[in-house]
Structures are given as structure tokens and as C-alpha cells.
């Protein structure tokens, strides 16, 4: 289970320095920042811009372009439910509604106790075993109501 560090400019600069020499360092830096802080904090944008000799607007534009990069850290566990066509065909819509009801949040939200963030994902590449889900980095397929309930319970634990 990920434990994220609080914002620390020095730590951020360290991370940026580790990747800035790469060709096309933008995404590797943003991924590394998010892995550490759970999100790409506003405060990191000028630091990245400075390191890559780009404008803050350009980095802001990049961060906000990609669905992956968060504005604030997620809950302790992240439950992603696949909402794409293959999972729709196999009953994914009903399961998504069920997960929302069980957790008391809508897609994209975090429970009040900050335990679980529920997110849609557009394809996990497990379409042979739809409906599919991912809890943190673990994958689950052939979901039905019972399996989903167990998954939600595990996420809440």
C-alpha cells in the first residue's frame, strides 16, 4: 500500500535532478514525483519548468493533459474499474454502479475516510476476462457481484 511523502521542495529537486538528463525527461519526472508525493503538486511545476528550461505554462499544460497525473494524493487504495466497451458488454456498468453505491462515492472520488479512491479506467487489456478491475497494481477479471463485493471490502480494509 503506497505511503506518500508530504511536499518537500528539496526532495522534489532531488527527484528532478535524477531524471533531467534523459531525452524527453518530462513524463519520467512527473511519474517519479507522483510516485513520491501521490500527485504532482502545484509547487513542483516551477521546479520542473526551471530544470527543463521550459515555461511554467508548458509544464502545467503537460501535467493537466494526462489523466494519470493527480492534483492531490489518492486514498490509501485505488480501485480502478474498467468502463470500456468490452467490460460494458459483460455487465460492467451495473458493477460500476454497485461499487459507487457500496463506497458511497462517484467515479473519480475518494471516500471521506480517505481509504479508497474509485476511478474509471478505459481498458486494462483484460478484455478476454471482462469485467476487469485493478486494485493498486493488482488485476482482477471475470468479476461478478460477489467478486466485486470482496474487492471493495479488501479496498476498505
Amino acid at each position: 500500500m503506497p505511503r506518500y511523502e508530504p511536499w518537500n521542495a528539496e526532495r522534489a529537486s532531488e527527484i528532478i535532478a535524477r531524471y533531467r538528463h534523459l531525452e524527453g525527461a518530462g513524463l519520467p519526472i512527473l511519474h517519479a514525483l507522483q510516485e513520491t508525493f501521490g500527485c504532482v503538486p502545484e509547487e513542483a511545476v516551477p521546479l520542473v519548468a526551471d530544470a527543463l528550461n521550459l515555461s511554467r505554462a508548458e509544464i502545467h499544460g503537460t501535467v493537466t493533459f494526462y489523466h494519470d497525473f493527480r492534483k492531490e494524493p489518492p486514498g490509501r487504495r485505488v480501485l480502478k474499474l474498467c468502463r470500456a466497451e468490452s467490460c460494458q458488454a459483460a455487465g460492467g456498468d451495473a458493477l460500476a454502479a454497485r461499487a459507487e453505491a457500496k463506497l458511497g462515492v462517484a467515479m473519480g472520488e475518494t471516500t471521506l475516510d480517505r481509504r479508497v479512491t474509485l476511478e474509471p479506467v478505459y481498458c486494462l487489456g483484460l478484455c478476454h476476462s471482462s469485467p476487469a478491475a485493478m486494485l493498486d497494481k493488482h488485476v482482477f477479471g471475470m468479476l461478478d457481484e460477489a467478486k466485486l463485493d470482496a474487492l471493495v471490502k479488501e479496498a476498505q480494509a
Binding site: 524527453g24 518530462g26 468490452s86 458488454a89 459483460a90 487489456g125 483484460l126 478484455c127 478476454h128 471482462s130
Partner: protein
């Protein structure tokens, strides 16, 4: 000698409990004092049988599946008498009837072992490429008739030749592993099950066009594939197959993995290049082609995973051998992915020409829900919905184009008769609106207007006039968008309207009046 048991580590197997089953086998064997080696492979692609456990016997590998935790003890007790015994895996008709070229080693070898890859014919293609030289290598790929498996179907060899003919300078090989289409998982399977074949394909491409560095851009939704590729790249480097003087030759080639960040449009090649450069994944206008001005402004070969992973067998067995499979201008084999509400979901590699109906009904076994098949979407979120009436369409680039569809990356998503096609058409527009990179107006604005129009039509709000507007909008998107996202979104929308008008709250007569 210890007994060998093979259990997949492919995420399609892990998602139904393969890790737990492998652990249980290890523990049960220890408890019984059995000398067992558990090899973690990729998947054979018969996902309804996962977790599939294969045991090496004198006559071949005997399979058991789908194995639950509670089956492990009984399996060890009963062996081939167990009810889950499938006999020789190679003899299972679903597998036996395929023509596995790109996927010949997937599910068989240990994807983390360079040695195992070599033992199964690995690096024979590179050996040939080094023997015949860059020019003849490009020619061989042209002869094979291989076309881009990502969806566009552009001849791979022609792309290579264009890059090879640019003056010597820094050039790149980029592998597009941003497999975002729902209903597809073939790239993921290769990366998790046979990563060295992709490394070999990229290395051959590098030598053929004079590129010394490669990037594999893998979507972040595939953490297992990212890990598998990174492990394999390290192993290849250790074994002298990447880096300076590849395989003892005069050619240098190395590569690394880059993770995407959840943008569907980055599967479009120019958007992917922007993303690799660290920018917003906005589509570039073409020309210039990436072959001339690609990554960091340098000549770049950008190919899909399957295209590159097919190169080694083309080199080792010959372009002519590969070309002899298929039909018309679609040469070779296509790894077709059966998905959605389907009984036998998985990967079926076969020569082009098989009909859609054979794939869905005979091979896929119809729906998992047991209800009648009503529609299938072929080629991902940008592919057309086909009714049963078109099930005689052969799987072939041109035949699908003629039927107002596309084969795309080869995914088939099956829907039963509970599907609401108006909802699917709306989703296509909505997905385009969410994922549009925003660069061109037809895609950015058109998709948002498209959602509203479908809503109006379904609500019965002046349907005849709004249908005419929707059709007009689809035409604008199709011909006015910069890339396939805006350009192909009309396929699912128009096919749903054409083949399933009853779902739009309009009877056929009214729809025809609109035309």
C-alpha cells in the same frame, strides 16, 4: 530430474488467480517432498482455461484448467484422471487450428530467460539480418507484405525503407505499445509472454535503418508488461544482445521502456512522439512523416508491437514464407483478440480471410451470457459495430473497409441482445470528447456536439432533423479531423445508426426519410 510445471504469469492469468495457484502448487509439492520446478510462462491465450497448469510429460505438455486453489491437492493425487485434465495442450482444437507465427513461443517459454528464448529459435532472425545486411533486411520485410498491425495497415517495409534512405544521423526505433483499444490485449501478451521477440524485432529494425536507439512506449495501465519488458531488456543487455556491438556485430543498439500516462490519443503515432518528448500528447499534422522528422526531429521508425514482433520470423523463415499466408493485400497472419461477452475469450492467430461469423460463433463460442449475439465491435472504440447480417465479412483490411468498418488492431468485442446501440453510439462520441487532444476542431467540438445530438434523437426531439445533423457532423469529423480519433469515431456511431436504427427510437421509415 525434477518435474516441470508451467503456470502463466500473464496478467490475464493473474487476474483470475494464477499467482495463488502457483504458490499453492509450490507449497503442496514441498509438503509432499516432490521435486518440482514451477516455470512461470506467458499465456497461451485460452483465457477461459486460466489459470491453466501445464505439466511436462514425455509426449508433451498436459494441461489442466481452469484450476482453482481447491483443486491443487486433488490434481497432485489424481494426475491425468482429474476432471480438469485437458490432455495435450497442443492438441486442444482451439489452439491446434491456429497458425501461430507471431505468437509461436507465447505461453511456452519463460519470458525472463534469454536462454529459453534462444532454445526456442530466438535470435535466428537477427542472425539472418546480420548475415544479409541492412538493405536485404528491408527488402525481406517488404517482400513479406507485413502491414502495420496497430490499425493503420501501412506496409512496414516501406516505412523502414523511407527511414533507411535518410542520410546517416541519429535515428530512432519507437515501438508503439500504447494498446488502448478496448477488446485488444495482443501487445500486452507479447510483452508479458515473449518480450525477447519484440527486442529482437526492434534490434533488426535498428540495424536495417541505421538507428542505434529504441523506445518502447507502454501505457501505464500495463504495469506487468512494463516490468516484463524491463527485465527482458536487462537480460538482453547482460547477454550481449543489446548495447555496443549487438551479438558481436559492428552494430550498436540499445533501448528503454517509457511509461505513458493514461491518454488514449497517445496511441496515435505523432501524439506518441510528442509524449515521448515530454510534451502534451497533441497530434502533429502530416507531412512531415515521422520517417523523415520523427522523435526529437530525427528520422524515426514507429511500429506497433505486433508488427515488430513479427519481424524475427519473417527474417528467419523468409518474407515469402510469411506472405504465403493470407488473402488479397492482407498477407500473413493476424493475432485476433476475442473479447467482451464471449464464451471463449482469448487470442486466436490465423491467416487473414477467416470470416467474422466463424470467429464469433465457432471459435468464440458465442456469448458467455448464453443470449444471442446482436452486435460485435471490431477494431476498438473507433471501429464499426457489425450486425449478424455482415458475419460473412472476411477478416481482411480491404473487406472491412468495404463494409464501412476497420480491423484496427484486431479486437472483436461481442455484445448480446441486451445491448442498447444508441447508448454505444453515445459512448463513442463521449469517449472521443474525453480523449480528444484538442488540436483540431472537428474532433474537439464535434464529439461534444455528437453526444448532445444522440441524446436529442433518443429523447425524440425532432429526430429527423437531428439525424441529418448527426450524419453531417460525422462526415465533417471523418474528413476534417487530423487523426484517427476524430476521423474514425463516426464508424461506431454511423454503423450503430445504419444497422440498428430501432435503438434510436426511430423506425426505419423515418430514418430513411432523413437520408
Amino acid at each position: 530430474m525434477s518435474a516441470r510445471i508451467f503456470i502463466s504469469r500473464d496478467s490475464g492469468a493473474l487476474c483470475v488467480g494464477a499467482e495463488e495457484v502457483a504458490t499453492a502448487f509450490r507449497k503442496a509439492a514441498e509438503k509432499r517432498g516432490l521435486d518440482v520446478e514451477i516455470v512461470r510462462t506467458g499465456s497461451r491465450g485460452m483465457y477461459w482455461l486460466e489459470p491453466l497448469v501445464e505439466v511436462a510429460m514425455q509426449r508433451g505438455r498436459v494441461g489442466y484448467g481452469p484450476v482453482k486453489l481447491s483443486d491443487v491437492e486433488a490434481l497432485l493425487d489424481e494426475g491425468e484422471k482429474h476432471r480438469l485434465c485437458l490432455g495435450l495442450v497442443e492438441d486442444i482444437p482451439w489452439l491446434k487450428s491456429q497458425t501461430r507465427l507471431t505468437f509461436k513461443n507465447c505461453g511456452i517459454i519463460d519470458p525472463r530467460s534469454l536462454e529459453d528464448y534462444r532454445a526456442h529459435g530466438g535470435y535466428k532472425g537477427l542472425e539472418k539480418a546480420l548475415a544479409v545486411g541492412p538493405e536485404a533486411t528491408v527488402e525481406e520485410v517488404i517482400i513479406s507484405g507485413l502491414r502495420g498491425r496497430g490499425g493503420a495497415g501501412f506496409p512496414t517495409g516501406i516505412k523502414w525503407r523511407t527511414v533507411a534512405q535518410t542520410p546517416p544521423q541519429q535515428k530512432y526505433i519507437v515501438c508503439n505499445a500504447d494498446e488502448g483499444d478496448s477488446g485488444t490485449f495482443a501487445d500486452r501478451m507479447i510483452m508479458e509472454g515473449d518480450p525477447f521477440v519484440l527486442i529482437e524485432g526492434m534490434t533488426i529494425a535498428g540495424i536495417a535503418v541505421g538507428a542505434t536507439y529504441g523506445y518502447i512506449y507502454i501505457r501505464s495501465e500495463y504495469p506487468d508488461a512494463i516490468e516484463a519488458m524491463e527485465i527482458a531488456i536487462r537480460e538482453a543487455r547482460k547477454g550481449g544482445m543489446l548495447g555496443r556491438g549487438v551479438a558481436g556485430s559492428k552494430f550498436d543498439f540499445d533501448m528503454e521502456v517509457r511509461a505513458g500516462a493514461g491518454a488514449y490519443v497517445c496511441g496515435e503515432e505523432t501524439s506518441l512522439l510528442e509524449s515521448l518528448e515530454g510534451k502534451r500528447g497533441e497530434v502533429r499534422a502530416k507531412p512531415p512523416l515521422p520517417a523523415h522528422i520523427g522523435l526529437f526531429g530525427k528520422p524515426t521508425v514507429i511500429n506497433n508491437v505486433l508488427s515488430l514482433a513479427t519481424v524475427p520470423i519473417i527474417m528467419s523463415d523468409g518474407g515469402g514464407f510469411y506472405r504465403d499466408f493470407g488473402m488479397g493485400k492482407s498477407r500473413g497472419t493476424m493475432p485476433i483478440q476475442l473479447a467482451g461477452n464471449i464464451k471463449h475469450g482469448g487470442l486466436y492467430e490465423t491467416a487473414f480471410g477467416i470470416t467474422l461469423g466463424a470467429l464469433v460463433d465457432d471459435i468464440g463460442g458465442g456469448t458467455r451470457s448464453g443470449r444471442p449475439v446482436r452486435a460485435v465491435q471490431v477494431g476498438g472504440p473507433l471501429g464499426a459495430y457489425f450486425p449478424r447480417a455482415l458475419f460473412d465479412t472476411p477478416f481482411d483490411y480491404e473487406a472491412f473497409t468495404a463494409a464501412d468498418g476497420l480491423i484496427g488492431h484486431g479486437g472483436i468485442v461481442v455484445f448480446d441482445d441486451t445491448v442498447d446501440m444508441a447508448k454505444q453510439a453515445r459512448f463513442a462520441m463521449e469517449f472521443c470528447a474525453i480523449e480528444s487532444c484538442g488540436k483540431c476542431t472537428p474532433c474537439r467540438i464535434g464529439s461534444a456536439r455528437g453526444v448532445e445530438l444522440v441524446d436529442k434523437i433518443v429523447a425524440g426531439e425532432d429526430p429527423v432533423a437531428n439525424l441529418a445533423v448527426l450524419e453531417d457532423l460525422c462526415n465533417t469529423m471523418k474528413f476534417g479531423s487530423l487523426c484517427a480519433l476524430g476521423g474514425f469515431t463516426p464508424y461506431p456511431v454511423m454503423s450503430a445508426l445504419t444497422h440498428f436504427p430501432e435503438d434510436f427510437g426511430a423506425d426505419r421509415k423515418r430514418l430513411h426519410a432523413a437520408e
